[in-house]
Amino acid sequence: MTRSELIAELATANPHLRVADIETIVSTIFDGISEALARGERVELRGFGAFVVKHRDARAGRNPRTGDPVEVHEKSVPFFKAGKELRERVNHGPPARAGAGAVGTGGV
C-alpha cells in the first residue's frame, strides 16, 4: 500500500470528506511524527508502536566494494518499535484466515 492508496481507501470510507482534506490529514500525521523526531522527541502510539531516535557513535567502517577504510561519523537514526497489539496482528495475520493462529504463535 502506498500513500495514495491509503488516501483512496480513507476517501472511500469517509465520503463526507474532501479528498484534499484526507491528504492533509495523512500528511499532518506523518509530518507530525517526522517533526517530533527531528526535535529529538519520541512518538508513542499505544497499540501501534513507538517512533524514537537512536544515536549511533562514530565508527571506522569500510567501503564494501573496495575494502578501503572510511570514517563513519556519529549520526541519529529514526527507529520504529511495533507495539504489542500490532506485533501480534502482523504475526497472526487477519483473524479471518482460519488456521493462521497455529503458525508462529511462539517466541519466548
Binding site: 482534506d21 506523518f30 523526531l37 529529538g40 508502536g49 529514526p78
Partner: protein
C-alpha cells in the same frame, strides 16, 4: 525528553481542518488502522517522504531463556520492520536529504 502521543497528533489535525476534536481523533485512528490492516495482510506500506513498513518472515530457530539458559524453540513468525526514508533520516540529523532520494 517529551513524548508525542495520539492526543497531540489529533490536536494538530483539529487545528488544521474544520473538523471536531472527536472526528480528528477518529480519523487519526482510521489512518493507523488502515496501515495496521495492510500489514496484517502481509502487505508493505510505503509512505513517500516518511518510510516503509514491511513484514518479514522469520524462520524457526533455537533460542535460549536468558535467565535460566534453557533452550526453547522459537517458531517461525512474521515481524514488522520499518525503513525510514532518506528524507526522514536527514530530518533527524538536521541535514538536507540527498536530491532525488525520496524513495520511501
Amino acid at each position: 525528553m517529551s513524548t508525542v502521543t495520539r492526543a497531540q497528533l489529533a490536536e494538530t489535525i483539529y487545528g488544521r481542518l474544520g473538523l471536531s476534536r472527536n472526528e480528528s481523533a477518529d480519523l487519526l485512528e482510521a489512518v493507523l488502522d488502515r496501515v495496521a490492516h495492510a500489514l496484517e495482510a502481509g502487505e508493505s506500506v510505503k509512505i513517500s517522504g516518511f518510510g516503509t513498513f514491511s513484514v518479514r518472515q522469520k524462520g524457526r530457530r533455537v533460542g535460549r531463556n536468558p535467565k535460566t539458559g534453557v533452550e526453547v524453540p522459537i517458531l517461525p513468525r512474521r515481524v514488522l520492520v520499518f525503513r525510514a526514508s532518506q528524507v526522514l533520516k536527514a530530518a533527524v540529523n538536521g541535514t538536507e536529504a540527498p536530491a532525488g532520494e525520496d524513495e520511501g
